[in-house]
Symmetry: C2
Subunit: 506 residues, 2 copies
């Protein structure tokens, strides 16, 4: 059998089953924990087989993952009615539709917290864990693949474990993982990471072999990341941010190596990170959730010395590059469980510079990362809250306006949903400019956000709101009857612009 050389624990050999058989070990109403973090290291045979089974049977589960899954797994599960509840993150258009119809109940959690909540018994007991492995060692322990996510916690807490050995990964992956499980309360101890490259755990996920009910082999590859090329807006945002970092260095607040970087996934993050390649910064490091194409570009350029995260999610080309030169990259990266990559304690201690994407933000610095018009879930908060709250600097980026005729302003009187409060946001950036909110009271923040970040089409309109609100007084001046009117105007007139409403009235 292909891959049998990756199964070094003899006792498991009589537990080898097909994905279809494995999928039948999942019962209706089960709580299932599976590997997978931003597409990397997800279950590529058992979960899809379960989705198929659900197309024929009336069966549904609570599915807890690391973060988003790859391929069409989340879509197939949702379409076939296989999901009762889903957490802590997703990024699939089909699943999203089901979530917004409330036929899949979704819990949008800080990515650091799921493992903790399970360990504390604040979520239902896990019946079964499905963990992708690049191999199994001679003691029956799991060597993960391209992510760790919540897998170690799932394996520790579930009654049963299915291991999916994936032969598409090189066995050289062994050694890049650092698996650390915290004790339960009241005996929780320090997470002793004091640098991005501190090793505190083991290279494998320790499991109780008696719980393993199935070994499945697969050779399906990770879904590649979709890398969107930088455009005018993302380049402008990146440049504003790079100029800001240069000023911080000039002021003596930061060294030329800055502090460890965290970057959310996507176009802007990639543009910012890529911007460092031709910068004067050096010896950069990363303590983030995901290692992206730009991470490896920075390593290649000699600008980045080390990167820590919970997964490797890269394009097909980048993946080949890494795997073909693995010995070069191996000592420059580490993968950790997501409750360690996103641990409040470590983020505060290392002093992370956190760069995340906002859907919209308001004149007082509140950020919405999750909901369209305050109601429809986009993806989820992911780790942005973990990082923003405890970061050395909490940066949020967004385009200032979007759609034809700039019909949507992403800078608003009041956000329609708050994921990051004014207390936790330091720097806001759009392609228009950057607002440094440090040390500013709400009315001062409003002034600088309007001056630097809003799209020119909305400047007057936002100033008008701001002036009329301030005339009424209050520490955080608002006209509550109007505060969310930009959103309702868009629903009614397909534009947030005041002039459209006026024209309509005439």
């Amino acid at each position: 059998m292909t891959g049998i050389d990756r199964l070094l624990f003899e006792k498991y050999k009589d537990r080898i089953i097909s994905a279809e058989t494995a999928s039948k070990l999942i019962n209706n109403n089960d709580v299932v924990g599976t590997s997978g973090f931003t597409k990397a290291g997800d279950s590529k045979s058992v979960l899809p087989a379960f989705a198929k089974r659900a197309s024929l049977e009336n069966i549904a589960i609570t599915l807890i993952t690391g973060a988003s899954l790859g391929h069409t797994t989340d879509a197939d599960l949702a379409s076939n009615g296989a999901l009762f509840k889903r957490m802590p993150f997703q990024a699939d258009a089909t699943l999203r539709r089901h979530i917004n119809n409330n036929d899949v109940l979704y819990i949008d959690q800080h990515l650091s917290e799921t493992a903790e909540l399970l360990q504390n018994g604040h979520l239902p007991k896990l019946n079964i864990a499905i963990i992708e492995a690049s191999g199994v060692d001679e003691n029956g322990n799991i060597i993960p693949s391209t992510s760790i996510g919540n897998s170690a916690t799932f394996a520790a807490l579930a009654d049963k474990i299915i291991i999916e050995i994936n032969t598409s990964f090189p066995i050289e992956l062994k050694g890049i993982h650092d698996v650390f499980i915290q004790e339960e309360y009241p005996n929780k101890q320090i997470i002793p990471i004091t640098a991005v490259d501190t090793r505190i755990g083991s290279e494998y996920i320790t499991i109780n072999p008696a719980k393993v009910v199935g070994i499945v082999f697969t050779e399906a590859q990770d879904s590649p990341a979709d890398i969107a090329a930088a455009d005018e807006k993302t380049t402008a945002i990146a440049n504003h941010l790079l100029r800001f970092f240069e000023k911080e260095v000039a002021s003596g607040r930061l060294s030329n190596s800055l502090l460890p970087l965290q970057a959310g996934i996507g176009k802007v993050a990639n543009a910012v990170l890529s911007g460092f390649i031709n910068s004067k910064f050096e010896n950069l490091s990363m303590y983030s959730e995901v290692l992206q194409d730009s991470t490896f570009d920075l390593i290649d350029s000699g600008k980045m010395t080390f990167a820590s995260a919970s997964s490797i999610t890269v394009s097909k080309d980048c993946y080949s590059k890494i795997m073909n030169n693995f010995s070069f990259y191996k000592n420059k990266m580490i993968l950790r469980p997501q409750n360690i990559s996103n641990a409040a304690e470590v983020i505060r201690r290392l002093g992370i510079i956190a760069i995340n994407t906002a859907i919209e933000f308001d004149i007082y610095g509140n950020v919405n990362s999750t909901h369209i018009s305050g109601t429809k879930m986009m993806n989820g908060i992911g780790g942005s809250g973990d990082f923003a709250r405890n970061a050395y600097l909490s940066v949020f980026v967004s385009q200032s306006a979007s759609k034809e005729n700039n019909a949507i302003s992403h800078v608003l009187p009041m956000v329609s949903h708050v994921d990051h409060t004014e207390h936790d946001v330091d720097i806001l950036v759009t392609e228009q400019g950057l607002a440094d909110l440090r040390g500013l009271a709400p009315v001062e923040r409003a002034r600088i956000i309007i001056k630097n970040c809003v799209h020119p089409d909305y400047k007057e309109q936002l100033e008008d709101y701001c002036n009329r609100a301030q005339a009424l007084g209050g520490h955080t001046p608002h006209i509550l009857s109007e505060a969310l009117s930009w959103h309702t105007r868009f629903t009614e007139n397909k534009s947030m612009k005041h002039e459209y409403q006026l024209e309509k009235m005439i």
Copy 2:
């Protein structure tokens, strides 16, 4: 001179000055850091003298404290135009009025973060620190009084230091303080607290004697805490919470000693803590911001073994009790800097049960702790965010309705300001009942909050909103044009009740 025996460092003896003279060492536009945390250990002679000076001169400062000040200091400073900017917390009616008129710029900060922001250079450089002391040791170091707050950071970062030796405190206070200063980035190390009583620092604030520009003596006492007696509502809230904890113990999730408690200041917190006295819980501990009357009642009753905080803020009677029996209490308590008492790392590690007060909360679990009708500042977020975000359990309590005819509902479609997001709130309690939000999706949360927490006068109205919003769909169903209408209805009709609006329309 009274108290000269408390000044053990010879070199300071020629720096003894009057409060009035000391107040002249503060310059216009200075950034001033002073001791004082929830009334305890504040500057009782120099700051008041400065307020007096400001009544005659056109002079204003940025004032950074631990938290709220005692007596009428904040009021006098604000009334005399002495405050340009104020942070990170206040609780004074006069200052509040000036903040809401925006003639004092106020920054409402997480109490854990101010010291960090100063150390990082994210706030302006401190010109002068004014620190109350119960004494000065033979090396010139400060023995604090009833709070530590941000004093150690202020003393480390300010150019000049004024020490206010207060003889109203017993010298026996020496030994209850544990002063720990974290290294600056990139060398920040672990905060090695692994139990509520772990000692990690020194009994005094180490300072550079060359920076001391004045020693002032005073004998003014701390302002006593206002203790409001438990009433029907607070007792009901306390009972709901105690029954909940009993169930958690019965389920095996918690032991009979629970986990360390944190409680905000006020009536409800006192009622809850007092409720433990006649409970079956035992060996309770506290890791909080403030030691209140109820803390000492719990210690007296033998129910609480140890309490850690940043200040002692108690009634006059309780203060006498403590000081007259100090040897009994001394080994049962510790005072820490507020960035340690409120450190994310320690809160998560110890697994704090955090109980804080909400001004209002919404059907999806978002909490407003600071703003009346989304605009007017009440006091500030204080440490509630520090604790809620990283707690083992994050509990928020509020009365369900208030004012004549229950004109205000504190349970709403949408809060008018978000301090704690749905991601960070586990348990909501009103006198009507308790909603356990753990593991629930937004629509499930709405159901249980309406069922258990809302006042009967508003149940139908809130159900109606909820049903109509859910009919429109979305993960977090809202009708944005109506979401804040309860607040605007109150402004217009002096009641949030829909019937008032209907009656008016007839």
